[in-house]
C-alpha cells in the first residue's frame, strides 16, 4: 500500500475553486482519490461540481473527516493556508504552490514541526507538510494527492521514488513503468530551499514499507539534502537506493529555475553530492534511463 497516502486518504482541496485547484481536483478524482470537499474562504455552503465547499479547513475537516489537505493557494497566502490546515489538526498537508517567500516557509515549517511534536507527545498522529513547490504524492493504484499526469502511474510496482523536481518525477515514473517495474509511492518533496519534508525524512518510511523493495532518489544541485540523505542511507537503510543528480553542468551562482537549485560558494555542488552517495555505496545514474539498470542490478544482488 506504499507510504503516506492510500485508499484511506480523504482529501480536501484548499483553493478548489481556483483554476489549478479545479482542474487538479477533477484529475485526482479520475485517478480514484477520495476528494471529499473544497475550502475557499467566503464560499462556504456552496457546491462545486458536486463537492461541498467550506470557508475554513476546520469546518471542512469536522464535516468530512478528511485527513489530508492539498493546497493550491497563491504564494502570498500559501504559508497561512498551511498553518490553517496544521492548526485544524490535518495530519498530512501537501503544498503545491510555487514561489512562496522563503521567510514565510521558514516560519510555517517551524510551526508545523512544533505542532507535530506536540501532537505526537499527546499520542496523536502528528502533522506532516510535503512541499511547497512540489508535485505531490501518488501511491500507485490507490490515490494521487498532487498534479502528476495520471497516465504514467498505470502499473503499480515496488519501487519507491523521491524527487525534488516535478518533471523528473514524471520521467522516472514513466521509465520505471515502461521497464515493467512500476512505483509503490512517489513523493515529490519540492524544489524550494525550505520545504516541509526532506529526502532523509521520507527514506525511513520506505525502509519500513513492506510494499517497497528499492528506492530511487532524484536530487539536484543546491543545498545539502542529498548529502544528508546519503548519510542516512549509509547508517540506517537495508533496502537498496539508487540516485540521480540533475544540473551537473549548471554554472555556479545561477539559480536554475527552482529557487533552491543554486550553487552558492562551495555548497550545493554536484561533486559534493556524488561524493556523498559514493561514500554511502549508493550507485548514481549518469542518465535517467541508467536508473533502471542500476535498480535491476541492486535488486538482483
Amino acid at each position: 500500500m506504499g507510504i503516506l497516502v492510500g485508499k484511506d486518504s480523504r482529501v480536501i482541496v484548499q483553493g478548489m475553486t481556483g483554476r489549478e485547484g479545479a482542474s487538479h481536483s477533477r484529475a485526482m478524482k479520475e485517478f480514484g482519490t477520495q476528494v471529499v470537499a473544497g475550502v475557499t474562504p467566503g464560499k462556504g455552503g456552496t457546491d462545486f461540481e458536486g463537492w461541498p465547499v467550506y470557508s475554513s479547513v476546520a469546518e471542512a475537516k469536522a464535516a468530512t473527516g478528511a485527513n489530508v489537505s492539498i493546497i493550491f493557494v497563491p504564494p502570498a497566502g500559501a504559508a497561512d493556508a498551511v498553518l490553517e490546515a496544521a492548526h485544524a489538526g490535518m495530519p498530512l498537508i501537501v503544498l503545491i504552490t510555487e514561489g512562496v517567500p522563503t521567510v514565510d516557509m521558514m516560519r510555517a515549517v517551524q510551526e508545523v514541526k512544533t505542532l507535530d511534536a506536540q501532537s505526537r507527545a499527546q499520542g496523536g498522529e502528528g502533522v506532516r507538510l510535503i512541499g511547497g513547490n512540489c508535485p505531490g504524492l501518488v501511491t500507485n493504484g490507490e490515490a494521487k494527492i498532487g498534479i502528476m499526469p495520471n497516465k504514467i502511474y498505470a502499473n503499480p510496482g515496488r519501487i519507491g521514488l523521491i524527487s525534488r523536481s516535478g518533471t523528473l518525477t514524471y520521467e522516472a515514473a514513466k521509465l520505471l513503468n515502461d521497464a515493467g517495474m512500476g512505483t509503490s509511492t512517489t513523493v515529490g518533496i519540492g524544489g524550494d530551499p525550505v520545504i516541509g519534508t526532506t529526502f532523509a525524512d521520507v527514506l525511513p518510511l520506505f525502509e519500513a514499507d513492506p510494499d517497497t523493495d528499492a528506492v530511487v532518489v532524484i536530487g539536484e544541485i543546491g543545498g545539502a539534502d542529498e548529502e544528508a540523505a546519503a548519510e542516512y542511507i549509509a547508517q540506517n537503510m537495508k533496502k537498496p537506493v539508487v540516485a540521480f543528480i540533475s544540473g551537473r553542468s549548471a554554472p555556479k551562482g545561477k539559480r536554475m529555475g527552482h529557487a533552491g537549485a543554486i550553487i552558492m560558494g562551495d555548497v550545493g555542488t554536484p561533486e559534493s553530492k556524488l561524493a556523498a552517495f559514493k561514500a554511502a555505496n549508493v550507485p548514481v545514474a549518469d542518465t535517467m534511463p541508467e536508473i533502471i539498470d542500476l535498480v535491476k542490478q541492486a535488486l538482483n544482488k
Binding site: 523536481s165 518525477t169 514524471y170 543545498g223 536554475m256 529557487a259
Partner: protein, 381 residues
C-alpha cells in the same frame, strides 16, 4: 534581487545600523564634489553586481579631491567581469589600522530550515575563502524565524567569534541586521567589514544584500532599484514573459517544461559534446502562445545555432507546444534547426501536427538523448 552596496547600506541604515557615510556619483565631477563636501580622504567604490571589485581595481583610496576625481575617471566606465561601472559610491575613508575588521552575515540555510547567523574575526576577506581554509573561524548560529535574533544570542556569538569592543553595541548591530533580513526578505545579508574603531563602536563599512525574488511583491518600494542594464538583454525580455531564463555561453538553445527537466537537458547537451546557450523553463501548463514567445526569445540569441526542445507533458499539453513551434515557423521567426523530444499529455496529437508540417527544420526523436545529440551536431557544424 541583488542590491548594490549603497542600496544595502540604505536598508541597514533604515533599521538603525551604524553605516559609514557615503554618496553615489555618476561622473568624476560628482566624485570631486562629494570628496570636497566630506573634506577628508575618501574611498571611491565601483557599484556593480559582481564579487572581487577590489582586486579588479574597482575600489580606490583617494587622499585628496584631485585624486578622488582621477579615481572616479578611472573607475567609471570600467569593465568588471563583463559589467560596465555606471556608478560609484564615495565614502569617508577610515583608518583601518586603528581598529579591527570583523565579519557578520546571515544566509538562508536549508539545512536548519531558517537563517544561519555567521560571525568571524576574519573580517575584510571573502568569507568563502575563510570557510574553505579555516572553517573553525566562522561561528554559526540558527536564527529563530519567528522571534528573530535576540540580543543575548548575538552577544554569545560575538564572544565565541572573539570580537573585541563594545559588545552591547556590536550585538545590537547584529540584531538590527537580523531584523532587516527578516523584514526585507533577504536571501543573504553581510556586513563585511564590520569595523570596530578605537572607541569600540561598530561601523558597517560594506554590505552585501540580496532579496528573495519570491517576496518582491511586498517590497514594491524597492522595485525601481532593479537595474535592468546590469542584466543580459535576453534575460530582461524573458522576465517580461515570466520565464525562468538564464543566459549561458554555449551554442544550443534549450527549452523545456519544468526546472528539473531543463536542468537535465543542459546536462544532456553537455554530454552530447555541445554547450547550452541558455536555460529556459516555459513552466507548467504553457499554452501555444507561451511556447511561441519562448521560441522567439531563443531564436533571437545570436549564439544559438540549433534548438533542443525537451517536453514531458503533465499539466503541459504537448499539442500546445507543437502549435507554438509551428506558429513560430509559419511566421518566419524560427530559422534555426529544432531537434525535439516530445512526450506525455497529448503526445500523439503533437506528433501528428509536427509531422504534417513536414519541415526539415523541425525533427522529432524518441528520446531526449537522440534529440540532444542531433541538436549538438547541428550546432557544432
Amino acid at each position: 534581487m541583488k542590491l548594490h552596496e549603497y542600496q544595502g547600506k540604505e536598508i541597514l541604515r533604515q533599521f538603525g545600523v551604524n553605516v559609514q557615510d557615503g554618496k553615489v556619483a555618476r561622473t568624476p565631477d560628482e566624485v570631486r564634489q562629494i570628496a570636497r563636501e566630506y573634506g577628508q580622504a575618501v574611498v571611491v567604490k565601483a557599484q556593480v553586481h559582481v564579487g572581487g571589485r577590489g582586486k579588479a581595481g574597482g575600489v580606490k583610496f583617494s587622499p585628496t579631491e584631485d585624486k578622488a576625481f582621477e579615481n572616479g575617471e578611472k573607475i567609471l566606465g570600467m569593465d568588471i567581469k563583463g559589467l560596465t561601472v555606471n556608478k560609484v559610491l564615495v565614502t569617508r575613508a577610515v583608518d583601518i589600522d586603528a581598529g579591527t575588521e570583523y565579519y557578520v552575515g546571515m544566509i538562508v540555510d536549508r539545512n536548519v530550515q531558517s537563517y544561519t547567523l555567521m560571525a568571524s574575526a576574519e573580517g575584510g576577506m571573502e568569507i568563502e575563502e575563510v570557510a574553505a581554509a579555516t572553517p573553525e573561524k566562522i561561528i554559526k548560529h540558527r536564527v529563530d524565524p519567528v522571534t528573530g535574533l535576540r540580543p543575548y544570542e548575538a552577544r554569545e556569538v560575538a564572544i565565541k567569534a572573539g570580537f573585541k569592543g563594545n559588545l552591547n553595541k556590536i550585538a545590537d548591530m547584529m540584531v538590527k541586521m537580523s531584523e532587516a533580513a527578516l523584514k526585507r526578505d533577504a536571501v543573504l545579508v553581510e556586513i563585511n567589514p564590520l569595523f570596530v574603531g578605537p572607541d569600540g563602536v561598530p561601523l558597517a563599512l560594506d554590505t552585501k544584500f540580496e532579496i528573495d525574488d519570491n517576496a518582491m511583491y511586498r517590497h514594491q518600494d524597492l522595485a525601481d532599484w532593479r537595474e535592468l542594464e546590469a542584466e543580459h538583454p535576453l534575460e530582461i525580455e524573458a522576465s517580461k514573459y515570466g520565464f525562468a531564463y538564464v543566459k549561458l555561453n554555449g551554442n544550443v538553445g534549450v527549452l523545456g517544461n519544468g526546472a528539473g527537466i531543463v536542468m537535465t537537458s543542459l546536462d544532456v547537451v553537455n554530454r552530447a559534446g555541445a554547450k547550452p546557450a541558455n536555460f529556459l523553463d516555459i513552466g507548467g501548463g504553457a499554452k501555444a502562445e507561451v511556447v511561441y514567445n519562448a521560441v522567439k526569445l531563443v531564436s533571437k540569441d545570436n549564439d544559438v545555432k540549433a534548438i533542443f526542445i525537451n517536453i514531458f507533458g503533465g499539466i503541459t499539453r504537448a499539442d500546445e507546444v507543437a502549435k507554438g513551434v509551428i506558429q513560430a515557423l509559419n511566421d518566419g521567426i524560427l530559422t534555426k534547426p529544432v531537434r525535439m523530444r516530445i512526450a506525455g499529455t497529448a503526445e500523439d496529437e503533437a506528433k501528428a501536427l509536427l509531422a504534417e508540417m513536414n519541415s526539415p527544420l523541425i525533427q522529432m526523436y524518441p528520446t531526449m538523448f537522440e534529440a540532444a545529440d542531433e541538436a549538438a551536431k547541428e550546432a557544432n557544424k
